[in-house]
């Protein structure tokens, strides 16, 4: 029995425990404890994240001649710890008051708890996979687990989008299966090492097919272009903390497999050997990543539902991760990997703030909110920290990972990708400002006058996550050893790091200094503001310039709808729904064939076919006789 076995046993027991008690009141207290327990199990395995050996499981299965085993590398551990922290935060968040409200609203709370632990279980199973078959099984588990989470919402739209998701996910799984089959067919083995061995033996076109299949499979999970359509709506419609959890980590399983399979076993050499020198696979993937940062971000900018806005950003941020890792150098890949953790932390926090706002006001429509900062200051603080992280501004952690990605693009001389990444960041800034402005700033609505701050059971995880967002931004060196171990374990160049950031010959980064300077600046700014000048007077929100009018509470004096009209006027015409069109046209083609076959079944063609068959057969008999005679 190794530590990994213990982990599996503990996770599985937690799954059983929660599924047993899920409808009892005790689940509220038990679930966070259990996630804490799993977290402790992971911490016991922490040596793997500091350069220790990978843990192997002593379980193995031999089914139908396929061998399966499990292992935990630095990469698995890194993703697992993010998963568990997100799960713990979501569990704490949903226990208590939020859960009560959810139950009263007709939600199936026990099922939500169950869905969460099922997700955690399947993710641990996937992360621990030791060969292609266990990877595939874990992969399917994760897909179905997120589906379970998504369908919980009673809304029709949620169910529709969940079905859409599962069709996409199944497409990905099938692509993965074909890829596995291609690998298996060569040497009758499903070990990971076979990927590189088989890849080297393959012909050029098979290599292209293999890489594309693998990429399609993983890209669908991660919501990369052009497979991004399912994700945002599906996540946005998932019940509160579930959305936070899924948005934080679920689609990053695609990132995990990309690192595990494409980066580790096909590698830069493999990607570059496919295609011409001008446009090889690396270029293709990098551009997919770049477009993924841009297009979903600008779709997010159009949304007027807070959850959907965030979910679209989740899609967009996936592009940065891929963009970083696909550079294959020490800083780029570190940035890509680190962005997984960073994104998980602020995305979960942001989703939770939106859910908290919904908890109090009942809506996440950005056109129906405003001015809540006076009522919910702590939630506002969390959202502020979160959006600074999401936009990638110092001193939050999003800045560090994005800085690493930019730096890598600079070093590798990729100006267009660099501009694309910046374009994504700028779009994000615009969009998150709209989010916080329409929710917390501006005029407070009359019906929200009595809204209070959310209870502590919801505030604690939010605040905890924002502390992570800040601390890992202030001292990225806490995370960087893990990243370095991951890089070492998948064979990438290892990043040189210290507590404040990275060392790099042509300009490094030291976040302690950067944050220090920034806070010094703020300090001086505050000094100037508070100690110079007269004392300010707080006025009512209606005491406002209105071109000579008096404002009353029935006047909506808040600018929220169509927030960026100039920009939309220009780029609005670019939102042609091309991908939606693509998806629909696939459906139309399917319909066409479907009708075609339907008519075949209705018509007499079968008899016609029979006639042809019989004529041929009898002629054959006749000729045969002739030959014999």
């Amino acid at each position: 029995m190794t530590l990994l076995d213990h982990l599996f046993i503990v996770v599985f027991s937690c799954l059983i425990a929660i599924s047993v008690v899920r409808n009892l009141p005790i689940v509220d207290k038990l679930a966070p404890v259990l996630y804490g327990l799993i977290l402790i199990m992971l911490v016991r395995m922490a040596s793997v994240a500091y350069g220790g050996d990978a843990y192997l499981s002593s379980f193995s299965l031999d089914l139908l001649g396929f061998k399966m085993h499990w292992q935990f590398t630095a990469l698995s551990w890194y993703f697992a710890i993010i998963t568990l922290v997100a799960a713990l935060a979501s569990a704490v968040f949903m226990s208590g008051d939020w859960g009560r409200q959810y139950r009263e609203g007709g939600g199936n709370y026990g099922m939500l708890q169950l869905a969460l632990i099922v997700n955690v279980f399947s993710m641990i199973l996937l992360l621990g996979s030791g060969d292609l078959l266990s990877l595939f099984i874990g992969w399917e588990f994760v897909s179905w687990a997120s589906f379970l989470m998504m369908v919980l919402s009673p809304s029709k739209l949620a169910k529709k989008s969940a079905v859409k998701y599962i069709v996409y996910a199944m497409t990905g799984a099938m692509a993965l299966m074909v890829a596995i089959v291609m690998i298996y067919a060569v040497n009758d083995s499903l070990e990971f090492e076979q990927i590189s061995i088989v890849f080297a033996q393959m012909s050029g076109s098979s290599q292209v097919a293999l890489v594309l299949l693998l990429f399609v499979a993983f890209a669908i999970k991660m919501g990369l272009l052009p497979f991004h359509l399912w994700q945002a709506v599906a996540y946005a419609e998932t019940p509160g903390p579930g959305a936070a959890f899924l948005g934080a980590i679920s689609s990053r399983m695609g990132m995990f497999t990309i690192v595990l399979v494409i980066v580790q076993f096909i590698g830069l050499g493999g990607l570059k050997s496919v295609g011409t020198s001008f446009a090889n696979m690396q270029t293709l993937l990098a551009w997919v990543a770049a477009l993924t940062t841009i297009i979903p971000t600008y779709i997010a900018l159009q949304q007027h539902d807070a959850k959907r806005l965030l979910a679209w950003h989740g899609v967009g941020q996936g592009g940065y991760m891929l963009l970083g890792i696909i550079m294959f150098d020490s800083i780029g890949s570190a940035g890509g990997l680190m962005h997984v953790l960073n994104h998980a932390s602020y995305q979960a926090a942001l989703f939770m703030t939106v859910v908290a706002v919904m908890y109090r006001t009942g809506t996440s429509d950005l056109n129906k909110l405003g001015g809540l900062v006076t009522q919910m200051p702590l939630t506002f603080l969390v959202m502020l920290i979160g959006i600074i992280g999401l936009a990638g501004l110092p001193p939050m952690n999003g800045f560090v990972s994005k800085w690493l990605v930019y730096r890598s693009l600079l070093v590798n001389g990729q100006p267009l990708l660099f501009v694309a990444a910046v374009l994504g960041t700028l779009g994000t800034i615009l969009s998150v400002y709209k989010l916080i402005h329409n929710t917390f700033l501006g005029q407070l609505r009359l019906e929200h006058q009595n809204v209070r701050e959310v209870p502590w059971s919801m505030l604690v995880p939010m605040l905890g996550l924002s502390v992570i967002v800040f601390i890992t931004g202030f001292m990225p060196g806490l995370i960087l050893p893990w990243i370095a171990s991951v890089q070492e374990s998948v064979g990438l160049p290892v990043i040189a790091h210290h507590l404040g950031g990275i060392e790099y010959a042509k300009g490094g980064l030291d976040m302690i200094w950067v944050s220090g300077i920034l806070f010094y600046g703020f300090g001086v700014g505050a000094l100037i503001f508070y100690f110079l000048g007269g004392k300010s007077k707080r006025v009512h929100q209606y005491d406002n310039y209105a071109g000579g009018h008096f404002l009353t509470s029935d006047v909506r004096y808040h600018y929220s709808n169509n927030f960026y009209p100039g920009l939309m006027h220009l780029i609005g015409t670019w939102y042609r729904g091309s991908f939606q069109w693509l998806e629909n046209s696939i459906v139309s083609v399917m319909s066409f064939f479907s009708v075609f076959f339907e008519n075949i079944y209705r018509a007499k063609q079968p008899v016609m076919l029979l006639l042809i068959g019989v004529v041929l057969a009898l002629l054959a008999l006749y000729r045969n006789l002739g030959v014999g005679a």
Binding site: I299, V607, V614, L618, L625, A629
Partner: protein
């Protein structure tokens, strides 16, 4: 092309033509009874092919076997088989005929197309859906509302 004009050749040709005529009848007929007749023709052709497979020119009937006549006898097995097949065939045809009567009584028509469309409508009504092939819109292509990408 000599062998086509042997006795077997001509017999085979006839049997095969009969089958093909029968099958062709199945294809083009609309009337239930004609369909049944086509089926009979088809089957007759097949039976002929089967019985021909044991046929030997100048062979004697298998019943007059006396061991030293030196004559070649026709193979008895196909004949037995064909007998069975004919019996089965007649049974099926009788059943078909009775079904035809009942269908005629119910639908008031002997036309296969009419019956098919009526049948389809009945099935669809039973299931509570619109029948296939009607002029309804193709499969629902509903976008998720508010999506634009």
């Amino acid at each position: 092309m000599n062998h086509f004009f042997t006795v077997e050749g001509i017999l085979y040709f006839g049997a095969i033509s009969l089958s093909i005529i029968g099958l062709f009848g199945l294809l083009v007929s609309k009337n239930l009874f004609r369909l049944l007749l086509s089926l009979v023709l088809f089957e007759a052709g097949a039976n002929l092919v089967l019985v021909l497979s044991g046929f030997i020119r100048n062979g004697i009937a298998p019943i007059f076997l006396d061991g030293n006549s030196g004559a070649v006898m026709n193979d008895p097995v196909p004949q037995a088989l064909v007998l069975t097949a004919i019996v089965i065939g007649v049974g099926v045809q009788a059943l078909a005929l009775s079904l035809i009567f009942r269908v005629k009584k119910h639908y008031g028509s002997m036309d296969m197309r009419t019956i098919r469309s009526k049948l389809e409508r009945e099935i669809a009504e039973n299931a509570g859906v619109t029948p296939p092939g009607s002029n309804e819109a193709p499969a629902p292509v509903k976008l998720i509302e508010g999506e634009n990408s």
